[in-house]
C-alpha cells in the first residue's frame, strides 16, 4: 500500500522529488571544490564502465552506446565503446589514437588548438577539475545525494557547439558520476559512469593502439 502510494507520488511529481536542486552558497562551493581537488590529487588511476545516451528530439529512442573508461595520471585517457560497436580513442601526450573496429588512425593534437582544448576538457571532466578554467561561467547546485557544476562557455565559437556542460559528482567521495553536454538546439549527450575503481593498477600497454 505504502509502496504503491510512493510510486504514484513519483509519477505525479517526478520533478520535485528527483531534482530538488538548490544553488550552493559560497562556503559550500569552497568545500565542494576542495573535496574534488583532494579526490583528484589522490587519484592515480580510474577504471569505469559507462553508458552513453544520445538524445535527438526527432528520434523515438535515445541512441545507447556503452563501454569502458581508463584514466592514468597525469593525463592519459582511453575511451572505449564496446557495444554495439568497437571504437576506442586514446588521448596520450599530444596524440589522439583512434581504433575504429580495427581501422587505426592518429591525430596530432599538438598542431590543433581545438583538439588541445577538447583533450583538456575530457581529462578535466574525468578528473572533475574544470573549475580553474577561465573559458566557462560556472554555477554550482546540490541535491541530497549529489553535487552538480554547470559550465557555460564564454567563447562564441565554442558556444556554437556546446550551450552548456554539466558534471554531476557523488556527494560523498567527489568523483564524477555523470557528464552531460547540451547543444544549442537542446539535443544532448549524457554519459553515466558505473563500477568506478580508483587507484588499481593500470598497465601503460592499455594506452597503446
Amino acid at each position: 500500500m505504502h509502496k504503491s502510494f510512493l510510486i504514484l507520488l513519483c509519477l505525479i511529481f517526478p520533478v520535485t522529488l528527483l531534482a530538488q536542486e538548490t544553488p550552493m552558497n559560497q562556503a559550500e562551493i569552497a568545500a565542494f571544490k576542495s573535496m574534488v581537488e583532494a579526490t583528484s590529487k589522490a587519484t592515480s588511476t580510474i577504471k569505469s564502465d559507462f553508458v552513453q545516451y544520445k538524445h535527438l528530439d526527432f528520434l523515438d529512442n535515445d541512441i545507447e552506446t556503452s563501454g569502458k573508461l581508463a584514466f592514468k595520471a597525469p593525463g592519459w585517457v582511453k575511451w572505449e565503446y564496446t557495444t554495439p560497436y568497437q571504437y576506442s580513442v586514446i588521448f596520450k601526450d599530444d596524440q589522439m589514437l583512434i581504433n575504429d573496429g580495427g581501422t587505426k588512425s592518429s591525430v596530432d593534437i599538438g598542431s590543433s588548438k581545438l583538439f588541445k582544448k577538447l583533450n583538456e576538457l575530457i581529462v578535466n571532466s574525468v578528473k572533475g577539475t574544470l573549475f580553474k578554467d577561465e573559458d566557462f561561467k560556472i554555477s554550482y547546485l546540490k541535491t541530497t545525494n549529489m553535487n552538480k557544476a554547470i559550465f557555460k562557455p564564454y567563447d562564441k565559437k565554442i558556444a556554437n557547439y556546446i550551450a552548456s556542460f554539466e558534471l554531476v559528482f557523488d556527494r560523498d567521495d567527489g568523483g564524477v558520476i555523470e557528464v552531460k553536454m547540451i547543444e544549442p538546439s537542446g539535443d544532448f549527450t549524457k554519459i553515466i559512469f558505473k563500477n568506478r575503481t580508483l587507484n588499481s593498477s593500470l598497465s601503460d600497454a592499455v594506452f597503446t593502439n
Binding site: 526527432f58 528520434l59 541512441i63 557547439y161
Partner: protein, 207 residues
C-alpha cells in the same frame, strides 16, 4: 520477326549509349510507372548506422541517423561517436535545408556532394522512364535533370540491391544495399567514381 526487331532495337540503343550501367542489359517494356526504395520509409523506425568515411586518403568515423518525419520529409544527422553533431540536413520533397554543419566542413562542394548522396539514399518514390532486364535483375531508370538514377532490383525477391547515379555518359556514384530483411538495410556502401569518397554504413538497432 518481332523478336528480331526488338533485338535490333536493343542493340542499336545500347551501342549508341556509352554508359557502362546499361551494358549487357536488355530493354524491357515498362511494367511500372514508379519504384519504391523501402529502406528509409518507415516513420516508426530510428535508422541509426555506424559510419566509416574515407575521403582522399583521410579516414573519419561517426554515427549516421536518418528519420522519416512524415511523407516526403527526412532528417539526416551525422554525429561523432561522442555524440557531437557534425551535420544536420533536412529534406522536404525537393527542398533542402542545412540546419547545421561544423565550420571546418562548411564548404559548398562538400555540402553539395553529401546533400546529393543522402538525397538519393532516402528518396522513397521515383518515377520510372525506362526499364531494362538482365538474367538476375530488373533495372529501372529514373530521370532527374543532369543526372539519372538506375535502380537494380534482384529478380528473385524483387529486392532493391543497388542505385547508380549517372550522367548521360558516366557513372558518378553508386549505393549498394545489403539486407536480410526487406525493410532494413544491414549494410550500405556509397562509392564515388569521380572523387575519392567512400562511405560505409552498418546498421545499429535502436529501440
Amino acid at each position: 520477326m518481332r523478336f528480331l526487331l526488338i533485338s535490333f532495337l536493343s542493340i542499336a540503343t545500347l551501342s549508341s549509349c556509352a554508359l557502362k550501367t546499361t551494358e549487357g542489359l536488355r530493354i524491357a517494356p515498362l511494367t511500372t510507372t514508379a519504384i519504391v526504395n523501402p529502406y528509409f520509409a518507415n516513420e516508426a523506425t530510428d535508422y541509426v548506422y555506424k559510419a566509416k568515411i574515407e575521403v582522399y586518403g583521410r579516414y573519419f568515423g561517426g554515427i549516421l541517423i536518418v528519420k522519416k518525419l512524415s511523407k516526403n520529409i527526412h532528417r539526416v544527422v551525422f554525429t561523432t561517436e561522442f555524440g557531437s553533431k557534425v551535420f544536420d540536413f533536412l529534406y522536404e520533397g525537393d527542398t533542402f535545408t542545412l540546419n547545421f554543419i561544423v565550420e571546418d566542413l562548411n564548404k559548398k562542394i562538400l555540402v553539395n556532394t553529401l546533400r546529393q548522396d543522402f538525397k538519393l539514399l532516402i528518396s522513397e518514390n521515383s518515377k520510372v522512364s525506362e526499364q531494362f532486364v538482365s538474367d538476375s535483375h530488373s533495372v529501372y531508370k529514373s530521370e532527374g535533370g543532369k543526372r539519372d538514377a538506375y535502380y537494380f532490383f534482384n529478380s528473385v525477391e524483387n529486392r532493391l540491391e543497388r542505385i547508380i547515379n549517372a550522367s548521360k555518359r558516366k557513372e558518378k556514384f553508386e549505393i549498394v544495399f545489403y539486407s536480410e530483411a526487406k525493410e532494413i538495410a544491414q549494410q550500405i556502401t556509397i562509392q564515388h567514381h569521380n572523387i575519392k569518397l567512400f562511405i560505409d554504413l552498418d546498421y545499429i538497432k535502436n529501440d
